[in-house]
Amino acid sequence: MTGQSITRHMCLGLLDRIVVFLLLVVLTFVLPRLMPGDALDLMLSSDMARSMSRAETDNLRQSMGLDATISTQFLTYVTNLAQGDLGRSIQHAAFVSDLIGRALPWTLLLVLAALPVYLGISVVIGIEAGREPHGKTDRAFTGVMTLLASVPPYSAAVFLLLGFAVLWPLFPASGAEPLFPSPDPLSRSLAIARHAVLPVLALSLHEIVRFYFLTRGEAVGLSGRPFVLNARARGIGGWRERVNYFGRNLLATLLARMTDSVAALFGAVIYIEIVFAYPGIGLLLYEAILSRDHVLLQGIVLTISALFLTVNWVLDAASANLAARG
């Protein structure tokens, strides 16, 4: 690709992602309104709530902005979105952006901590296995990985929880922090790290498999290439061989696959936060689903999508650039 075509590629990519985002805006608006009942009905469905007169419910409906026509509601929705206002969650009595702002850092902590873990492990063992295809190491690693590939992220999370928090309580079973965080920043960070170990591990497991097979496949290809054979004949081995000859040549492929990986991570993190009751955005999303808080649900879906589409675009552009440089 030439420089010009890369620019074109990036512009088109951006356009696509804007289209997708707009589609999601429409979807998040339409879906809850297709279903019976509105936010007020839900609010009053508590068994302890007294029965309200028609005038009272009309009054409430009006103050909640539910009495407007669909088109007016949509217009308000889009205008507010454009101003970065995701609305208010009635159940939480808070601005959606506020709720997301508090939850997102925890999710990012998990994802960013998992990234080096799974990339590191999968690349190292992938190269190790692919250096000598069908050797002992390869067979062992590939066997284990094939099995792991069939363990869904929620199973992995549950078994990690069971193993290392319940049966052998090495790590805390839930939450991101102790009940009363220590005022000392160092011990507080240590406690946060301790709470993050199992979720990060569960999140990494799934991606390790994907990148292991990718790395191994590439490494198998490379191990037959003349420059590697030459290097080996010259006695180059150990770290130099693995880093300079395998590692470097893997970069482009890994980067290209990161796009899928980011999507998979966002999917898996929801399950993992639920299992570990980790107060991130996945748990918030799940609770919004359970409590039918559709304003919050909309806000979270749009935020995650925006985040995901941006990362996806940047990675796509980066790998296109890398591919162009060869």
Binding site: S150, P152, V158, R210, F266, G267, I289, V301, S305
Partner: protein, 270 residues
């Protein structure tokens, strides 16, 4: 072990057999009813114990099997039923339309499908058919590029060119010459979808977002979550988790075998 060679016709027979079994199995099984024997450990009466409302876990497992497998097969077939015509259009239609269609695919491919599935499932709590449709709708755009490449390769072959010159319509040519030659690719994609769909169905069940009456391995695992702190997890959690993993593993192996026999270009795993 290479007892079976994975010809598409064999696969179709196998699928049909599995389908028939899925439909018949619930009739043959004892009813999945609540009893007073709640949370019984495995024993002669209940081989795999009972859950917290006295339902037999083994019966549940066997009843969940057709649901999970059926959804996966249906979703995979439906996804192909959508992507094949679409992909053939992207090869045979006029240039401008081809370009438009491919843009559509580009757009659909970057839709964060996990979120869309969650969003829709949250509102409609889909049953068996609904889940299959939902999964098919989010899976198919990923096929188009693979299929398009395969279509191009097949269409460039001599027999198609001859048929076209003799006045055969595209529908005829694709149905008669192109699709049969693409068997292995289609089978590869099919297996990949079955795996993905089973994984996602169980995931939805695990989150409790499917129709609560639909017993799946995922929903059985969810029910077990309340019992992690007692020994009941041994018979409530392990069996459905093992079944799911075994099924996924089986499909994976089948795909891997297909790949090793060099019949397809797609990668089953990553």
């Amino acid at each position: 072990m290479r007892l079976l060679s994975w010809h598409p016709s064999r696969a179709a027979t196998a699928t049909a057999a599995v389908l028939a079994l899925c439909l018949m199995l619930p009739e043959l099984l004892p009813p999945y009813v609540t009893t007073r024997d709640v949370l019984q450990p495995p024993g002669p009466e209940h081989w795999l114990g009972t859950n917290d409302i006295g339902q037999d876990v083994l019966t549940g497992l066997l009843r969940a099997a057709p649901n999970t497998v059926l959804i996966a097969l249906l979703a995979a077939a439906a996804a192909l039923a959508l992507s094949i015509p679409f992909a053939s259009l992207t090869v045979t239609s006029p240039r401008w339309l081809q370009r438009t269609l491919m843009r559509v695919v580009d757009v659909l491919q970057i839709v964060p499908s996990v979120l869309v599935i969650l969003l829709i499932a949250a509102w409609v709590q889909p049953g068996l058919g609904g889940i299959a449709l939902l999964l098919a709708l989010t899976i198919w755009p990923d096929d188009v590029r693979v299929l398009r490449t395969a279509f191009r390769r097949e269409i460039a072959r001599e027999n198609v060119a001859v048929a076209r010159q003799l006045g055969g319509s595209w529908t005829y040519c694709i149905g008669r010459h192109v699709l049969p030659a693409m068997g292995p690719v289609l089978l590869g994609l099919f297996l990949q979808h079955v795996r993905q769909a089973a994984l996602k169905t169980a995931g939805l069940g695990f989150l409790g977002l499917t129709d609560p009456r639909l017993v799946t391995w995922g929903s059985m695992m969810q029910d077990a979550l309340d019992h992690l702190h007692t020994s009941a997890w041994i018979w409530l959690l392990l069996p459905p988790a093992a079944c799911l993993t075994l099924f996924l593993h089986g499909v994976l192996r089948a795909g891997g075998r297909l790949e090793r026999s060099g019949q397809t270009l797609t990668t089953g795993l990553a």
